[in-house]
Amino acid sequence: MATEQELSDFLKSVEKRAFKRSVYHVRNEEAALDIVQDSMMKLAEHYGDKPAAELPMLFQRILSNCTLDWFRRQKTRNALFSNMSDFEVAGEDGDFDILETLHSGESSESAEDSTRRAQILRDIEIEIQALPARQREAFLMRYWEEMDVAETAAAMGCSEGSVKTHCSRAVQALSRALTAKGIQP
């Protein structure tokens, strides 16, 4: 059974990545925060007594399910509202990045570097968000969460062959899109 400290350390180690993954999926920071919070609560409430080694897989599964639930709930809402909120979030992010760069850039060279880095990251994130949902999920679990094929398949509820296909297609699509933009990650 995981102690409270182990559970806390585990959640601390995954929370930021879980948040970013959720943002890539739902494209909305508020919703992503809600999803991560729900996932943490469910893990602590229902599986807090499980061994620490089982927590990563359980959390991935819960996070995937919570994301799916969010999409199901969104389906029932007005499509116009969700589209408008998408535009708002994209606009806010863009402004925020530019202001940050202007205020923090004392040295022109480092400012240029950081702007360039931020721009590459932003382009990569856009391309990841543009991937089909299953490809994006497989890619992020397999390569960002560093889960093996079997674990990814178990968390996604599909076969190992499907995971390999999703990952391969995701990498090809990313490579094609980023090369077209002149980006070498």
């Binding site: 806390s8 925060l33 991560v36 602590a44």
Partner: protein, 151 residues
């Protein structure tokens, strides 16, 4: 002929993916303060939830009294077996009481029958006392029984 440093498509794919995810990880470190704070708050809330569950489990175990051993023993995820045993355990004293009452009734019946049989046997096997012959009732009894037999 295969070149010495040529990578397999899978290795190339993994390498490319690793470069992409390294970029993503750098972005993760630059999350705004309010986001990291809200994530921290969510984590604390989740941990508090876990505590409440632990306290509730302990309370249930201590409040169940006589069945406390069963509750603690079946609390480790084997709820199916536990659900079946609880009614069995509570019905056991009742079954024992009914079986005991039936047994006592049978034994008492047997005792009474054997007592009556003993008295009858003693009466039948005993010698007839001489006073009995002088009793007018006895003579009457002999007469009636004799007359009823002769009829």
């Amino acid at each position: 002929m295969k070149q010495p440093y040529q990578q397999s498509p899978q290795a190339h794919q993994a390498l490319y993916a690793a470069r992409v995810t390294r970029r993503l990880s750098t972005g993760m470190d630059d999350l705004p303060y309010d986001i990291t704070e809200r994530l921290r708050a969510a984590r604390m809330q989740a941990l508090a939830k876990r505590k409440v569950v632990a306290v509730q489990t302990a309370a249930v175990a201590s409040a169940s009294g006589g069945a406390g051993t069963l509750v603690l023993g079946g609390g480790n995820g084997r709820r199916g077996g536990f659900g079946w045993w609880q009614p069995m355990a509570s019905a056991l004293p009742l079954i024992a009481l009914v079986v005991g009452l039936v047994a006592i009734n049978i034994i008492q019946d047997d005792d009474r029958t054997s007592e009556l049989a003993e008295v009858d046997a003693a009466l039948l096997t005993d010698d007839l006392p001489p006073d009995a012959y002088a009793d007018p009732g006895f003579v009457q009894f002999l007469k009636t029984s004799h007359s009823s037999e002769s009829r």
